[in-house]
Symmetry: C2
Subunit: 174 residues, 2 copies
């Protein structure tokens, strides 16, 4: 059947370095002190994001996780079309990764109308929805009780792709 | 097929008084100034909650909406078993409905371990999942960009029912 997966946080801590290695045949042992070889909620989230081949549409209130930023930058470097919609207030906070993304050439738009753009969802290649309570922050990932739901069920994905496009179009600064 | 529905907020404003009327044959015209007869994201959310016949398991970070509180109290009055898990810090904030729920005899537990209990989900009758970015506050409902996903897909519902039971058991104050 269609992909349906639920991830809960806080995640177990484990090294995710191997997920960023472009060539899986390279197996230099990682010297970091974290456990290795564990699949965790966070490694699952990274895998879903890094599965993008054509596009990543990201709509997230708070984005300060350096590891998630690294994943988005890697996708951009691979030629994946990345679009980001975020909150106008949170993007200015210390530790926000939004400036880093913009400096790398990623198109970021911020909500200009609503009080807060409080979504936390991503759509990978127009067909895989990642959504839930989890902001893209270290506290959310490592400390909070949070959920993420991942699905390719079209009845659930399509409303989010439409919502993203509407937010994208209505917050065009031009 | 199984229920799958996505709701986006902010909601259009409309009267929801009729949803609280126990007897739908009673049709006293409502004198309030809001539009009547509109189906909105918020009226859909209320309908899903008020469909509970046996149980409502609610796990929500912030709960200050009086209308959602009214819905939960109505379910309790109808004999529905209501259990609430919430955040230890937010529950103390002015406007929180948690005290009102407790005064009505509803069992409320607060997360004692994690930094924040940031979930925003409900499970109706053990089979209908309501989850997303939306906290149960007036700002979230009326002002923010938010989403709620409603589904009866067992692969998605069951992980949340297990998560709820685990939070319930692990935060037993006894
Ligand atoms: Zn390592
Ligand atoms: Zn009315």
């Amino acid at each position: 059947g269609l992909l349906k997966e639920v991830l809960f946080f806080p995640t177990a801590l484990a090294c995710v370095e191997h997920l960023f290695t472009p060539d899986p045949r390279i197996t230099i042992p990682c010297p970091c002190p974290l456990p290795h070889g564990l699949e965790t909620s966070f490694s699952r989230l990274l895998r879903h994001l890094l599965s993008a081949r054509a596009s990543l549409d990201l709509c997230v209130f708070a984005f300060s996780s350096q590891e998630l930023s690294r994943a988005v930058l890697l996708l951009q470097a691979r030629g994946v079309t990345v679009r980001v919609v975020t909150d106008k207030d949170y993007m200015l906070i210390t530790g926000s990764q939004i400036g880093t993304l913009r400096n790398a050439g990623i198109c970021v738009r911020h909500e200009m109308g609503a009080v807060h753009m409080h979504h936390k969802f991503a759509v990978v290649d127009g067909r895989r929805l990642i959504t839930g309570s989890l902001n893209w922050t270290v506290t959310a990932i490592q400390s909070n009780k949070e959920n993420i739901l991942v699905t390719e069920e079209p009845d659930l994905v399509l409303p989010f792709t439409k919502e993203f496009q509407q937010l994208w179009d209505s917050n065009d600064p031009a």
